[in-house]
Symmetry: C2
Subunit: 422 residues, 2 copies
Amino acid sequence: MKGNVLVGQSGGPTAVINASLAGVFKTAKERGYNKVYGMRYGIQGFMDEQYVDLSEHIKNELDLELLKRTPSAFLGTCRYKLPEIHEDKAIYERIFELLDKLDIEVFIYIGGNDSMDTIRKLFDYSLLTGAKQKFVGCPKTIDNDLAITDHTPGFGSAAKYIATSTKEIICDAMGFSYKKKNVNIVEIMGRNAGWLTGAAALSRSEDCEGPDLIYLPELPFSIEGFVDEVKKLLEKKDVVVAVVSEGIKTAEGKYVCEYATENASTDAFGHIQMSGTAAYLAQVVKNELGCKTRAVELSTLQRAAAHLASKIDVDEAFNVGGATVKAADEGSSGVMVVIDRVSDDPYQSATGVYDVHRIANGEKVVPRKWINKEGNYVTEEFLDYVRPLIQGHYQPMMVEGLPRHLSINLKNYDWSAPRGKK
Amino acid sequence: MKGNVLVGQSGGPTAVINASLAGVFKTAKERGYNKVYGMRYGIQGFMDEQYVDLSEHIKNELDLELLKRTPSAFLGTCRYKLPEIHEDKAIYERIFELLDKLDIEVFIYIGGNDSMDTIRKLFDYSLLTGAKQKFVGCPKTIDNDLAITDHTPGFGSAAKYIATSTKEIICDAMGFSYKKKNVNIVEIMGRNAGWLTGAAALSRSEDCEGPDLIYLPELPFSIEGFVDEVKKLLEKKDVVVAVVSEGIKTAEGKYVCEYATENASTDAFGHIQMSGTAAYLAQVVKNELGCKTRAVELSTLQRAAAHLASKIDVDEAFNVGGATVKAADEGSSGVMVVIDRVSDDPYQSATGVYDVHRIANGEKVVPRKWINKEGNYVTEEFLDYVRPLIQGHYQPMMVEGLPRHLSINLKNYDWSAPRGKK
């Protein structure tokens, strides 16, 4: 009898991070592992012995399908950075003691760059001590900024949501253009990588002009230049739509949103908390050009809109989850599963494994050649890369008109509470 | 041979306002009217002789189905208030001259309160002059604030989008709660009526707790009281979700968003332009309670997210559109089509007609008895009223992974422009 599998989720969730969890669970069971434990709130919760036996939550095939359609981190997530081994050996001893106690043979961590850093450190520690566990990373991030893998599960669904919403926003704006010019600024997630922001250009199709301007964080942003571009466009057309990354910075290295807030706070990894870029630019355009402006921040829904998940993305996330268990079962450790693009047309992909040391903390940004000369749009090559990833639709399971999810939090919830019956 | 029909769209669009347009077109053709003209940008564009022959845009049944799935006002919309007849008779003479020139027998205006005001004035003028045209209003508004009609086309789809998005936002927030309390504030459209804000409570179901607090604009809002409620909740739970209307005001009659901006602008009808209520409250909570906060403004997508339209809503919008032509054809004028709820369970509705004088400018708000005693949630009766309206799904027609719409604007668009090939 094989031992147990432990799986955790970390960092910002995606619409399909739970599809990977479903893949881990299914493959672990198929390959004869005993129990599949889930860490509550990643490694941070696990160190406090917060974990569940996933079989108590995924009881049948329907639960598994619901889990694939459930947004956010089913198990809960954390933003917790392990210290270097030499800085605090006690933490590692504690973690490995727990792993042994639970008879864990395989440790899977679903996450982005910071999570792969966790896999790397735990693997390195296992080498030092000769621990039996295998450590495998399962890629996840809407930002698509992980190195080596062709793309990252979560990106395709976010891109589909962004392109669809951009199309609907443009459609809405076009209806209001009579004798009143309007400028619309849409703000998209992506701190340093413009993959999601560029995906807004997918909205350009036979029935939609697409955005007029797209600004990625890869290039310095000129507020003055932006206003000039908008002004030029307004001479030719009534509706202007610009899409900007939350992470655009001026040539001085200052985030545009900082001009608005001047006191942005930082998270545990030292990332600046973004917000208000579009609102700030809308205000500037309104002041400078005097036209009607509108700022739309797509916000949390970019990573949570499971109701619009891409089928390719859900299926790949599920497969990648399964591939992590397979890799560990076949002897790999200290690796991350990657997606290789086998063919562009028809689109085909396959999973592979890659040394996590070469992945951790390396950030993949949009190459300069996939941004136009003027720095205000993406190229056809960029779109050819993204387009296959938004194809197909995972129909939500609708109950009473709304998508049904699988929930871990409400097992003991008191429905008789003041707000009335469920 | 019958004469022609003229149809226009006015005010803020909805996800299903074009389904009503499709209904008008189809019934007009079926009932033997000659041409169906569409005003570009409502009565404002029409006065400048901006109109199209809809047969040139709706060429077959597939176009009609696409139109039903296209958000925003297909024809373009306006916010234009006709003067009283005695104030400017020349405008009326001009409009009726154009109607005669185009041999219009039926004038349909799809809109909300302000649009019904247009129908009323044109009808009154037709009585004064004995003009032959019939004037019929087709209700539309996401706000659901039209009197007499049980509910308004557009509301159900917006409610479905809001409930789904709220569910996804709650799901996302729950994943982040470990050793870090977080407060989430979701801002919903609805200036004076809380129908949409209350609809967020539909997210409360077996798999989701729903929001903790809901504040409608019908009751005065206390910023201090709100912070107290949040504080009390944070003693019992880690994640708090509050949903607020953009139009909540303090007891002094000041919009909460005004505290943030202090210089809100107004539109043509004297409505204050709203924004920033959630962002402001999030800042207050962060300052007072020191916890992590997040503000999400659902923004334009509430009225534009055709990809998540309710089937009941699309079908009713289509039927209501058809019913306007039927009413005019059978001799009615100066009326608005209304929806009567025939049965709650199973839900059934039927169309009727009602004197537009009794509808125009009367605003229907959420009755006090459908808000709980504390003023911070809606009752089960409220939910029983809304729930039938979000049922069923109109599958978008997906092309290359995105919903396809019918577009009037791109007929002569130059796709070879700098942004590259389509």
